[in-house]
Symmetry: C2
Subunit: 202 residues, 2 copies
């Protein structure tokens, strides 16, 4: 998705099957990128270290010179994706810039985005990393909605649904080929407002 992996593919190997030599820090970062893509396909359990190694175009043993275990690697991948996302969306409040920033972040790192929200959220052993995100976004939404929705049950319903719909709307947008990248956030925000309206008293 950016500048680190365009050199990987086949070009990473010489004729003798030797991978390109790389300084430690760079290799580490490149493994994290590759692991993000590999894990994004099937999540933790379904993705073997061989898959990760293949994606990074190195041998499996090398992984252990950079990460103590599969779990640790995965945790670091998730943590990085989460951190990047928070950095780009930031804000403790739900503002008109939240959704555009969210869309932009997803477009910048779709693998990380999918990994976080399609897989990691369903993996109990790593919930601690995604629960903060989920709980936090729900809480922000709830704080924002509590003024708009008098019924507490439906306010909770909307508070849980708003982040989910934002996520799913973004993924659907990615899947649809990212039409109108600069208007997408607008559409997605509208879909979110549809949920809020649905929770209004009638």
């Amino acid at each position: 998705m950016d500048a680190t992996e365009q050199a990987e593919g086949r070009a990473a190997r010489g004729t003798a099957g030797q991978a390109r030599r790389m300084p430690r820090a760079e290799r580490r970062a490149q493994i994290l990128d590759a692991a993000t893509r590999a894990f994004a396909r099937g999540g933790f359990a379904a993705t073997g270290l061989d898959d990760v190694a293949a994606e990074a175009a190195i041998s499996r043993v090398i992984l252990y010179r950079h990460f103590a275990s599969k779990s640790e690697l995965y945790r670091e991948v998730l943590d990085r994706a989460r951190t990047h996302l928070i950095e780009q969306v930031g804000a403790d409040n739900f503002t008109e810039y939240s959704i555009p920033a969210f869309v932009k972040a997803a477009a910048a790192d779709p693998a990380g985005f999918r990994l976080l929200f399609r897989h990691a959220v369903r993996e109990p052993e790593f919930r601690d990393l995604t629960d903060s995100l989920a709980a936090y976004s729900t809480e922000v939404a709830h704080r924002h909605l509590t003024a708009l929705i008098p019924d507490e049950d439906w306010a909770q319903w909307a508070a849980r649904l708003v982040p989910t719909v934002a996520i799913e709307a973004v993924i659907a947008w990615l899947d649809a080929g990212r039409p109108e990248p600069d208007r997408a956030a607008e559409r997605i925000a509208d879909a979110v407002h549809g949920v809020i309206d649905a929770a209004q008293p009638r």
Copy 2:
């Protein structure tokens, strides 16, 4: 969730650790119910046959007298959930009764519902069972939306998002404690319409 398992728990065992004797067909159905609940917690890979056996309050070996393998059991569980859902929602077209029927079906079998849409959809080996559902609902939505949304990209976006939002709205409703069961479908339908509006040209 219905009439088959209220007798299970501890009451199923006598003092000697012997499970209640049950005719073959009944036991089979009870295992399927229990397996639905067990698998609904973590999906196929994360759920061991021990978990299933424990949930059914029988020993693990018995499972093999009813099902040839874990995969076969899982397939049957999924197929049953899918069939029940289709029976209750039915309709080849999206009508005003579709969403109420959908909500009702989810309320009747929440474990099967979650299993299908939270787990099975992300399990490549069992995609054949859920793809029909997903592809079909997307196609129905697309057919319904193509008249309303001129831009094909956004029509596709909405067609994918509509079933997803319906599903997520139902799950959020279940999680929120099922408030106002008879008005829920109305709210959920509103949320869905919010998505459709968001895809309109502006």
